[in-house]
């Protein structure tokens, strides 16, 4: 159920304040140490951020998609590494259970995920299965009352901290493509699972991704998400579709921050005897940034509201992810340009954002995958 406006405003202003007072001052440190401090993670738990998307009956806030996007506009105004701390519990790690989990799976996991006591991670991508996720090779073979898992998952966000994985594995090796894939709620602390070293990345230091290797890892059959095999790929696609709006909102949040930084800098930085903000060519960059940010924000809210109203927004979610992630890339590029030399040196943090936002065009469906989805859906719509 949607919040009344007063409560919603209070929620958002609390998050904005938390971001300004607690997170923004730590951006450089988090990047330098490649670690979000434990006390900040604890404060995020106490604030209730891990549970924003989890239904109220399981101890979460049960926010609507629109409300979740508004929260992410705020949380996006700082290093995306902070968002990543809660990202998988709010989004791809937990939503498989919320959408398709059995009652006992919801009862077991959702309360712990809502408080942040447990961390959920989403394990779909493999060395040979990225954009072509349906070709995944990890297997889960039924053996009596268990499944035995073998295979390697790659670039798994929060794997090093995970309590459980929403794992996609092939239960039917004879059926190629998505139909042979099932989803599992796989505990992380069982024999046969090895978590790789965190990868060195271009940006978002403080957020970690690593390989997850399964070698004859044995899990009870009850770990199958839902009741029947072969539905895992559909679950993964539903989770990712919702995640697209989540990521789009983060992109809009980061763009908002970069716009503010750039606007302030343009008003202060003097060249030719006046603030560079007086120069029309600088204004032109700011105008493009503002316009594109505004467009992305409107798209995200429109798609989120429609989703809340029960509409199918598969195409719109892809439009949002495609536009918002490309938009924030352009905005970050212009921010560096407006800051000039200062934008290129690390002290101002602008080059850090420039690196941080690059991944948005890649993960949870590349821009090209989004184009394919949008294009295919448009053709389908008008062919009917």
């Amino acid at each position: 159920m949607a919040l009344d406006l007063e409560t919603r405003d209070q929620l958002l202003s609390t998050i904005r304040r938390f971001v300004e007072e607690r997170l923004i001052p730590l951006e450089a440190q988090v990047s330098e140490n490649d670690e979000v401090p434990a006390e900040i993670v604890q404060e995020m738990r106490e604030l209730g951020l891990f549970g924003i998307s989890i239904p109220v009956e399981y101890g979460g806030l049960g926010l609507t998609m629109e409300e979740e996007c508004l929260v992410l506009f705020e949380l996006g105004r700082t290093s995306p590494a902070f968002r990543s701390v809660i990202g998988t519990n709010v989004g791809i790690g937990s939503q498989g259970i919320v959408m398709d989990g059995r009652q006992d799976q919801k009862d077991e996991w959702l309360p712990k995920l809502a408080t942040g006591e447990a961390i959920a991670s989403f394990a779909l991508t493999e060395p040979e299965a990225g954009s072509d996720a349906a070709s995944l090779r990890t297997t889960a073979i039924r053996d009596g009352d268990d499944y035995i898992i073998n295979g390697t998952k790659r670039f798994i966000t929060n794997a090093t901290k995970a309590s459980m994985f929403t794992l996609m594995a092939r239960t039917d090796p004879d059926t190629p493509g998505g139909k042979g894939v099932s989803a599992f709620i796989c505990p992380a602390d069982i024999p046969g699972i090895t978590i790789g070293k965190p990868e060195k990345k271009m940006g978002q230091q403080g957020a970690h991704i690593s390989d997850v290797i399964f070698e004859d890892a044995r899990i009870p059959a009850s770990c199958l998400l839902g009741d029947v095999e072969g539905k895992g790929f559909i679950t993964a696609m539903k989770v990712l579709e919702r995640g697209r709006l989540h990521i789009s909102a983060v992109c809009a949040g980061v763009a908002d921050r970069l716009l503010e930084e750039s606007g302030r800098y343009a008003a202060e930085r003097k060249q030719f005897g006046a603030p560079i903000g007086n120069l029309q060519l600088v204004q032109a960059m700011l105008a493009d940034m503002k316009t594109e940010h505004y467009a992305a924000r409107c798209m995200v809210l429109d798609a989120a509201r429609r989703r809340d109203a029960g509409e199918d927004v598969a195409t719109e979610s892809s439009c949002c992810k495609y536009f918002a992630s490309e938009m924030v890339g352009r905005v970050a590029d212009k921010a560096v340009q407006i800051f000039g030399g200062a934008g290129y040196v690390a002290d101002y943090g602008i080059e850090r954002f420039y690196r941080d936002v690059r991944i948005f065009r890649i993960y949870e469906g590349t821009s090209q995958v989004q184009q394919v989805i949008i294009g295919r859906n448009v053709v389908k719509e008008y062919a009917e």
Partner: protein, 249 residues
């Protein structure tokens, strides 16, 4: 022990305040408002007393327009138990607020009232002291530490040049200073639950308090803009310049 905490809705401390063109006050239209930071400290202190088992109930009270209810909700989200909203659109001065608070204290019989030492809008720093006088209760102003000691209260006060610790009989009025504590963020679940906590709607008439202003604002102006300084090469030049400016003889 029941604790009463008055809270005031003021311009948010991050807002750059602008003076109205006619110099009658400051611009309030479309300006972000929030709880007076010193009141936030008071609420936090009350919650800590409750968490420590010293306080049993926290009642928050505000005097102000309809929107002041948001300030009460913030306090309730932080952890206060219930609110009292004394609704008025009139400009209220410290004495009128103190009189209303005295009447509220009469109805609620708190053992402790924690008031912010001042509100950051008018910086009056009067309400707590006036309230203490009207009630005839002891006061511990500018508190940086508050501790229950049997049936008394030890209050450490920030005074010029150091700290002073005094022992107060209860009931008492304490005004909170900046270093008393660091207020918490209301958690998101508690913000949602705060909606269900009760707020009593009252008016100044309910307490028979006359709000007629006793003060008149002559004009409000911005502080004079700081002039750019100059750099001097030597100490002698500095002394000469200071003499020139009439700062030293």
């Amino acid at each position: 022990m029941k604790v009463l905490v008055p809270v005031k809705r003021v311009i948010d401390y991050n807002v750059k305040v602008r003076v109205k063109a006619d110099q009658s006050g400051v611009e309030l239209a479309n300006v972000k408002m929030s709880m007076n930071p010193f009141d936030e400290i008071s609420v936090e202190e009350a919650i800590r007393l409750k968490e420590a088992g010293t306080a049993t109930e926290i009642v928050v009270v505000t005097v102000g327009p309809q929107q002041a209810q948001e300030t009460l909700r913030t306090a309730l989200a932080m952890g206060a138990d219930r609110g009292i909203h004394v609704k008025t659109d009139a400009e209220v001065e410290p004495l009128a607020v103190a009189k209303i608070l005295k009447a509220v204290a009469g109805e609620e019989s708190p053992e402790l009232i924690i008031v912010g030492k001042q509100a950051i809008d008018d910086d009056s720093n009067q309400t707590g002291q006036m309230l203490s006088a009207l009630l005839g209760w002891p006061q511990g102003t500018f508190a940086s530490k508050v501790e229950k000691d049997g049936d008394k209260l030890n209050v450490t006060r920030e005074i010029d040049g150091g700290l002073q610790t005094i022992k107060l009989n209860l009931p008492a009025v304490v005004t909170s200073d900046l270093r008393l504590n660091e207020p918490r963020y209301a958690s998101l679940p508690n913000i949602m639950k705060a909606k269900k906590k009760p707020i009593d709607a009252k008016t100044p008439e309910d307490y028979s308090v006359d709000l007629t202003p006793r003060l008149q604002v002559q004009k409000v102006t911005e502080p004079a803009e700081r002039q750019a300084g100059i750099k001097v090469e030597t100490a002698a030049e500095l002394v000469a310049k200071l003499k020139e400016a009439g700062v030293i003889g």
